[in-house]
Symmetry: C2
Subunit: 312 residues, 2 copies
């Protein structure tokens, strides 16, 4: 367990603000610095059970005895903002019935302002505040990784929708609506075409003998035809979804992050080509898609952004 740098309490209040990022693989928490970014976080693997205890202990550890007046939470989805709960598909203990994370934290830190959003929303919020979408009040974020997620910022504010789940871009239907079944219960979702693991499986089904997304990208870079085809397929699917979402919400910029987005030209060339082919409407001329700048810490940064405005 890494030692966190203890953030300085805000001189004016003596309180600290915390950010917490809940994922299927790891939990991360940090004190929020005066500039609004999280300090170096403490990370722990997400345990198979007693996930709340792990979150609580992490928050206690990063707070290091200082009084806490706000906690921003990023969570894998789906979330339920009106209920203050989360039911991440990839946290088995919580997936079926959800977990009332907001109440749990309010109970753990009485009097603290607690704000929750999905991890895709937090990622784009971070890129909007500190990263590739700085200064752009209207932008689409997509995270292409083990799964595909996303979020939308319009007029400088996250689009939440009824339950806080707006931005589930991985479940936009592409190409072959009769395609692979999706873990969401639907079919043809872009996640089943373009996520890292699905791209790997497609390549393997077509004769590629590699094991993971990183190797797929390397092999594509050195010209392996099946690896190239897998990334072209993924890139085109992502690009067509981004054009579709741009037509839906009218934003001039999309930011794409996540581990699989680092696959280089073999993914980005077809992605950008698909955007150019499909974003035909006049108000989408100049629609840009750029790589994320903040890396895998963006959800935690976005969690910090949630509590940046003390009046919010």
């Amino acid at each position: 367990m890494t030692q966190a740098k203890t953030g300085e309490p805000a001189a004016s209040t003596g309180f600290v603000r915390l950010a917490l990022d809940i994922g299927g693989t790891k939990l991360a928490a940090a004190v929020i610095e005066p500039d609004g970014r999280p300090a170096e976080p403490i990370r722990v693997p997400t345990p198979p059970s007693d996930v709340w205890a792990a979150c609580r202990d992490l928050l206690t550890e990063v707070a290091a005895g200082q009084p806490v007046d706000a906690v921003g939470i990023s969570s894998a989805g789906p979330v339920d903002l009106p209920a203050g709960s989360v039911a991440p598909i990839n946290i088995p203990e919580w997936a079926a019935d959800g977990f009332p994370i907001v109440a749990a934290i309010e109970n753990h830190v009485p009097g603290a302002r607690v704000r929750l959003a999905g991890d895709g929303v937090c990622a784009v919020l971070a890129e909007h505040r500190f990263g590739a979408a700085r200064g752009e009040p209207n932008c689409i974020g997509m995270v292409v990784s083990t799964g595909i997620g996303g979020g939308i910022i319009l007029n400088g504010r996250p689009v939440t929708g009824r339950t806080g789940n707006a931005g589930h871009l991985g479940h936009v239907v592409v190409v072959d609506p009769d395609g692979d079944p999706c873990t969401c219960g639907g079919r043809g979702c872009v996640e089943t075409v373009a996520s890292g693991p699905h791209s790997v499986r497609w390549a393997q089904a077509h004769g590629w003998t590699g094991a993971d997304g990183k190797q797929l990208a390397e092999d594509a870079r050195t010209g392996h035809p099946v690896a190239l085809a897998a990334l072209e397929r993924a890139g085109r699917a992502v690009g067509s979804v981004l054009a579709s979402v741009a037509a839906t919400v009218d934003a001039p910029l999309a930011v794409v992050g996540g581990g699989f987005s680092l696959s280089g030209a073999p993914l980005w060339d077809p992605l950008l080509a698909a955007v150019a082919e499909h974003a035909g409407l006049s108000f989408l001329h100049g629609f840009r898609v750029v790589p994320a700048e903040l890396g895998s810490g963006s959800s935690l940064i976005g969690a910090a952004c949630l509590v940046d405005d003390p009046t919010d």
Copy 2:
């Protein structure tokens, strides 16, 4: 030219509010009644040129000498809300460079509050206020007609996006991203699969000998296999787009209107089946798609809604 019923001026102010609906085929205008709905409108065909003069004369006629303090405008898209202009693809005189409709009306009716939105947004705003989405603060609207348009209401307010063009659902990419070119300049847009004219053309290309969407629907109802296949293809495409948009914006309800939406079970059965197949996410359980209630006058009603709140 039909005689409009002259609306009563609001007793408290002596002023009337007007609604104007600008379309590629016709222009319509009416006085807004105290209940917020337009009175019986005057309609004129959209002329091939001097479109502004036709709009201006229409507004003068419906105002019938009464002072006007607000004008709500629905326009075929694209619009440019920051610029106050419109550049409808289907109004050749305005399509290339746009027309500054807000300034023109402000000039024509000095001192009036002028509000503009795209016709798809106005249609869903009307259904949200008076129609099939009454009481639902989060809903998706789609109009399936000569083209396919739409709009989105979240938290009771229209989603506009950067330029006011959010909701261009006809340009969401479906099924075959390498499909037919679209008038928008893109390819594979759902409009090229599921609009009335495109469905007719597909049916004709597959041996159906009818002439228009109405006949297509009639023939499908009586079991003509090609007509049925055309409507099934259209319905599935629309349903998959609605599921995609629901995952994007997190709304529990979609309202589908427009002339081609009146094609009955041969369209709606596959539409609803596709929604059920693709809307798998937990927060989309219970996602409903219903027919619009307000008919072809919904854009004008939505234009009236734009000026309903004097403080807006």
